[in-house]
């Protein structure tokens, strides 16, 4: 899927804004993820073209950072911290509850495509409000079973947070997640060749 015009313009503006166009790589990846929901190899090639850099540079950078998604996920992104400060205030129990309520394992997407969730050992910076999670990158703190239920109910109804996200929801094939994964990970095949 080629990038939308506003995204292309944004990438070109970014390249002009920094003293080095290479510095625009991470912001450009964000712009693409914002538009398409995840970053494909095709999109990385397009970023490379607009920045006048080799595609390998874009891929090398993108693969280092855990927040860049390489395959479509649910409309909403839920991340729950299990690092020590959160553990002390019941993060493990909260994770177990969330897993039960959503009916999918850590890293999975609910059958209706509404929520992809995973636990993380990376501290999210809300230890004072533990147990906590981030919902679409916004903080939900001092979680209780009741609060989690309310959040899940809201997310099941709400559209994806980004303007261009309905496209992202369409792209999801919840029944065949393995196929989607294979389609967006052609790089492993190349290595085998």
């Amino acid at each position: 899927m080629p990038l939308a015009k506003p995204t292309v313009t944004q990438i070109q503006d970014l390249a002009a804004r920094y003293p080095s166009k290479q510095s625009a790589i991470i912001p450009a990846l964000w712009a693409v993820q914002h538009e398409q929901g995840y970053v494909t190899e095709e999109a990385m090639a397009e970023i490379a073209q607009h920045l006048g850099l080799p595609p390998s540079l874009i891929e090398a950078t993108a693969s280092f950072y855990s927040m860049f998604l390489t395959r479509p996920e649910g409309r909403h992104d839920v991340v729950i911290c299990i690092n020590a400060p959160c553990m002390l205030r019941g993060a493990d129990e909260t994770v177990a509850y969330l897993e039960r309520q959503l009916g999918v394992r850590d890293g999975g997407t609910t059958a209706d495509g509404a929520i992809t969730w995973h636990s993380t050992i990376e501290c999210l910076g809300a230890c004072g409000g533990a147990p906590m999670m981030q919902v679409d990158h916004r903080f939900e703190e001092n979680l209780t079973p009741e609060r989690i239920d309310a959040i899940i109910e809201r997310l099941r109804k709400e559209p994806a947070p980004h303007a261009a996200a309905p496209k992202r929801a369409e792209a999801i094939a919840p029944a065949k997640p393995e196929k989607v994964r294979a389609a967006t990970r052609p790089r492993a095949k190349k290595v085998q060749d």
Binding site: M67, F68, P85, I121
Partner: protein
């Protein structure tokens, strides 16, 4: 010791994130005063104030500034807003509540070091804080605090807000610069230090969010005023991020030197559920554990170091008597394993190995030699890694083995976690 809120003194003011409200509380007066001064005089002032970096290492800020080689331009300022140390959430609070205070500090620092383009590297997870800073930058630009010929004083300054994408290592200053240049966030060899060869190979200063937030107050009130707050070697206040088993977790601004007891007992309301304090950890995931006997140590870089830990980035993780210290250490080790950038072998392989051994302890498969094996691996990572990430991954687990070795033994003899068994029996 009485608390003198400095950074948070106006945080009760509604809509402080708006420029007009911030100006009413005295905002940007520090920057205006700074523009009337010679940059060198500003550097001297900050040196005299004794301000030390709030990011973790506690390096004197004014000295850092004065390391820039004379006559080499352009120079860059990078504000480190990549707060990711487990246990720390202070920079987030400062950016949320008073983004203009942070921005004003950046403008003052930029002017002092002769920089015309500053960067804020903010972690990708901090989206609301990103938005708060973005608004602040827009407002400041419109008001003429930012841009060409600022306030008619002939000084040009622009600020780029740069969003990271989920890598703890980018909080390390050279990894941050590499990331800002668009590469994988791997640290660089020092020397050359960023002050000499930093961003794009140019002289660069990297300062933490809380460090720069102090600058407007220092400029307005003077170096002597700031020096009088806190301890002789630790001027000012610090934000302490208290979490874990306390009644009132949260951010507390404390004058440096205040006893740890006051923070935990008076402000945090003491250990929750009427339980006893087992241990606490200042500084964040990296730092060594301390015991109840250390409660009267002052909240200060030097005092905490003397007690056997480090003040780091100002976290205070409190653990009550029911805490499994092995599991706490396991979480931190797994965190470092996850965040190791993979550049150097001791850290990449060592953290992975330690994490495996910790899993054995929790899973009831640990062998008698595993405690010493952990110490041995730790010894071989610490001081042999490329950057402090590897070193720091060993400090907490090694200190836990030192003070709580019997808990590791119990995990071996009981073939699993004794604390989880107690909890399960209580539920049953």
């Amino acid at each position: 010791m009485a608390i003198k809120p400095l950074l948070t003194k106006d945080f009760a003011t509604e809509n402080l994130e708006q420029l007009k409200v911030y100006e009413r509380t005295g905002g940007y007066a520090g920057f205006k005063k700074a523009l009337e001064m010679q940059p060198d005089a500003l550097v001297d002032m900050v040196k005299k104030s004794g301000l030390r970096g709030r990011g973790g290492a506690g390096f004197p800020t004014g000295n850092k500034w004065s390391f820039l080689p004379k006559g080499v331009y352009p120079r860059y300022l990078v504000c480190n807003a990549d707060e990711s140390e487990p246990g720390c959430f202070k920079d987030r609070y400062l950016m949320e509540e008073s983004p203009h205070q942070v921005l004003e500090g950046i403008l003052i620092a930029s002017y002092a070091i002769g920089c015309n383009l500053a960067f804020i590297y903010i972690r990708g997870e901090y989206l609301p804080q990103h938005e708060a800073l973005e608004n602040a930058i827009d407002e400041a630009r419109q008001a003429g605090y930012l841009g060409k010929n600022v306030l008619g004083k002939g000084y040009d300054i622009d600020v780029i807000l740069h969003r990271g994408a989920g890598a703890y290592i980018c909080g390390e200053e050279t990894a941050m610069l590499t990331s800002l240049e668009g590469y994988r966030g791997e640290p660089r060899l020092k020397p050359p230090f960023p002050a000499v060869k930093g961003l794009y190979g140019k002289p660069t200063v990297v300062n933490n969010v809380e460090t720069v937030a102090n600058l407007p107050h220092i400029v307005l009130n003077g170096a002597d005023w700031f020096k009088a707050i806190g301890t002789p070697t630790g001027s000012g206040t610090r934000l302490w991020c208290m979490s874990g088993h306390v009644n009132r977790p949260g951010n507390y601004e404390m004058e440096n030197g205040t006893p740890i007891r006051e923070l935990i007992e008076d402000h945090g309301g003491g250990v929750w559920k009427n339980r006893k304090l087992k241990a606490f950890q200042p500084g964040g995931a990296s730092m060594m554990v301390l015991l109840p006997e250390h409660l009267d140590v002052g909240l200060d870089f030097d005092a905490i170091q003397k007690a056997g830990s480090l003040a780091g980035a100002g976290a205070m993780v409190v653990m009550d008597e029911t805490t499994c210290m092995v599991d706490a250490a396991r979480r931190y080790v797994k965190f470092f394993e996850h965040e190791s950038c993979g550049k150097c072998t001791p850290c990449r392989e060592g953290t992975y190995w330690m994490a495996n051994i910790f899993d054995r302890f929790e899973g009831g498969e640990a062998k008698p030699g595993d405690i010493d094996l952990l110490l041995d691996i730790g010894y071989n990572i610490d001081g042999r890694s490329f950057c402090p990430l590897g070193d720091a991954s060993t400090w907490f687990p090694r200190s836990v083995i030192k003070f709580f070795r019997d808990e590791f033994q119990e995990h071996i003899s009981e073939k699993g976690c004794p604390f989880k068994k107690v909890a399960q029996e209580a539920v049953a």
